[in-house]
């Protein structure tokens, strides 16, 4: 039914075009249009190819070379071999950053995604007028970027006065005086909470769409046969949403390993954005610190490549493992 407006749209062809079309008979139908169209796809793709070569492929090659140089700002550099990698891999700050980022990725997947799925299943009822409003409310935090969420939560986590501290105190009677952003043990939980607030609705949207793939007839048949909700969940729902779940797990992991702006702005007042004892330092934060504060782009490039390999390795393992699970069930 989408075809109708397009058919109505083309007016009668103007005479010059018509004449051209008629004078060159092979163009009409068959394969003839391809001769005329040969250059067209290249023209359409030219902007992408040009910009991609200059700002993606070329810098990618340069990053490889740069990783073996020590630089001071963009202009000065000296060849240092593998020592950038050597330095980074033995730097306790990098270990800390790697640990923090891994903790964050772990909780993104093991805490945030189950909650997203749970919310999606709660929302996924038939004939519910409230569905749209709830979906909007839960998704809303994602509209504010990491920077603004970080700034907002830096105030919400204020000891004694912050909304989050007050809420926790009223709910479970603990937490009013906690220094969420000043206590090294609480910085990562604070980052995880802020990110949970921000991304739970985003992933919920994917699961909501995936739940449309669940065969309702199968669910009804299973219910008649006396299957409990847990049975239905593991044997019907999970296999149906497995492809989307794999996608969400992999993209969440990739995103989590590139975390930077949220903690950097959340902790903007605590130790230059990295928290006490670097307790909120992430891998990208480490890269930013070395490449753009200390001016050592070489170390930045080395960290970038290390992160790339880690992300690739983890996503490949995830796709293997989750893919095989999806096939078995």
């Amino acid at each position: 039914m989408t075809i109708r407006p397009a058919i109505a749209a083309p007016p009668a062809p103007p005479p010059p075009n018509l004449r051209r079309a008629l004078s060159d008979a092979p163009r009409i139908g068959g394969l003839g249009w391809r001769t005329r169209a040969r250059a067209v796809p290249y023209f359409f793709l030219l902007p992408f190819v040009a910009v991609n070569l200059v700002f993606f492929l070329y810098p990618l090659i340069r990053a490889t070379i740069l990783a073996f140089y020590q630089t001071d700002g963009p202009a000065h550099r000296a060849y240092v071999g593998w020592s950038n990698f050597n330095f980074v891999l033995h730097d306790p700050d990098f270990h800390k950053a790697m640990w923090n980022t891994t903790v964050f990725a772990f909780f993104s997947i093991c805490l945030q995604l189950p909650l997203s799925l749970g919310l999606a299943m709660l929302l996924n009822a038939k004939n519910d007028r409230l569905k749209g409003i709830f979906r909007l409310a839960i998704f809303a935090p994602n509209l504010a970027g990491q920077v603004f969420v970080g700034i907002l939560f830096s105030v919400l986590f204020t000891p004694h006065y912050g909304l989050f501290n007050r809420f926790l105190q009223a709910l479970i009677g603990w937490g009013l005086e906690q220094q969420w952003l000043g206590d090294p043990r609480l910085v990562m939980p604070a980052i995880i909470i802020a990110s949970l607030w921000m991304y739970v609705g985003f992933n919920m949207i994917y699961f909501l769409a995936a739940l449309q793939n669940v065969d309702q007839g199968l669910v009804e048949a299973a219910t008649i046969d006396g299957a409990g909700p847990a049975h239905i969940f593991w044997n019907i729902t999970v296999p149906a949403i497995a492809p989307v779940a794999t996608f969400v797990v992999v993209t969440s992991t990739i995103g989590s390993y590139q975390l930077f702006e949220l903690p950097y702005n959340l902790l903007a007042n605590n130790a230059e954005g990295y928290g006490p004892n670097n307790s909120g330092m992430t891998v990208v934060g480490y890269l930013y610190q070395y490449a753009f504060h200390n001016g050592d782009l070489g170390t930045g490039a080395a960290v970038g490549w290390l992160l790339t390999f880690i992300i690739l390795a983890i996503s490949l393992v995830q796709i293997r493992v989750l893919g095989s699970v999806g096939r078995e069930t």
Partner: protein, 306 residues
């Protein structure tokens, strides 16, 4: 016992009373209640933010949201935060008003969105509707390029921008962001749905290839265009690292960078930077509400086969 806990206990008691009498109703009640609780938690920070910006700095910490009705007066609720935020700030380039940063952000984000829309849709159209030498290679290359995280390019791109003499210009922000393999993929997926018969018919009518793309294919992929514009605009509007690295003059900065500065500058008067944060959240919200339907469908189109 505080009011929150009393309310929760009462609500839970209603559920357990309903459960033996009317099972289905009890579960529906629990579901709506749970969703209401989650929605409240999600929206409370926004509500708090809106209240906070209107509170005078003397009572900012005193009340969780707004002061009680008896205490509302010009001393507690006023526009002093806005006034402080919107007065001109002296910088090296002369006085700069906060609206200048809003205008910068709007300009950069709109330009990136427009260029991305044009280049991604054209590229997606070419990949979906033409057969040409190098097509398979290009598709594979684009798929592979999407697995490389952008941060690995930060350091070399800094050198390239510097060598091009693009430091402290918007070119450094706009040009690298104007094309994306991801965008071309989204549009390729959508353009595959444009019927070949229509394109053939248009060619027989003597339409040029560019006209087919612009007036035939583009209207047919309009939902995808809406979603893509929103994704692009949100990304560009919230982008922090590139402007932070490439821009130097204060007057050229975009909102995320400026607000990050303000957090340090107004450390003890946080009503001011909260004001800026609220203003910075408004344009994406307006765009979202006008494109909401397209957004949800576009967001999931890559992941879910319908």
């Amino acid at each position: 016992m505080n009011p929150l806990r009393i309310a929760l206990i009462i609500l839970a008691a209603v559920f357990f009373l309903l459960l033996p009498i009317r099972r289905r109703l009890a579960w529906r009640y629990a579901r709506v209640l749970l969703l209401l609780a989650v929605a409240t938690v999600m929206l409370a920070p926004f509500a708090w933010l809106v209240c906070a910006v209107f509170k005078d700095s003397t009572v900012l910490n005193e009340y969780s949201f707004l002061p009680p009705l008896s205490k509302i007066s010009h001393e507690t609720i006023n526009l002093s935060n806005f006034r402080a935020l919107l007065t001109d700030q002296p910088t090296v380039q002369g006085p700069v008003c906060f609206w200048r940063y809003v205008a910068n952000s709007l300009f950069v984000a709109s330009l990136i969105t427009f260029l991305s829309l044009v280049f991604s849709s054209a590229g997606g159209f070419a990949l979906a509707k033409y057969r040409f030498a190098g097509r398979g290679v290009l598709l594979t290359y684009m798929l592979a390029s999407m697995t490389i995280p952008a941060v690995v390019l930060l350091a070399p791109n800094y050198q390239i921008i510097w060598q091009l003499g693009w430091m402290d210009t918007y070119k450094a922000l706009v040009v690298p962001a104007a094309v994306s393999a991801f965008g071309i993929f989204l549009f390729r997926q959508a353009m595959l749905g444009v019927p070949n018969e229509l394109i053939e018919a248009a060619r027989i009518d003597g339409w040029g290839e560019f006209r087919i793309y612009l007036t035939l294919a583009m209207p047919l992929v309009r939902p995808m265009s809406g979603a893509f514009c929103l994704i692009c605009f949100l990304g560009a509007w919230n982008s922090f690292l590139p402007p932070n690295i490439f821009l130097q003059s204060q007057a050229k900065l975009t909102l995320p960078v400026v607000l990050n500065q303000y957090v340090g500058q107004y450390r003890h008067d946080y009503g001011i930077f909260l004001c800026g944060t609220l203003l910075a959240m408004i344009p994406p919200a307006i765009l979202f509400f006008s494109l909401q339907r397209e957004f949800i469908s576009g967001l999931t189109s890559g992941a879910v086969k319908q």
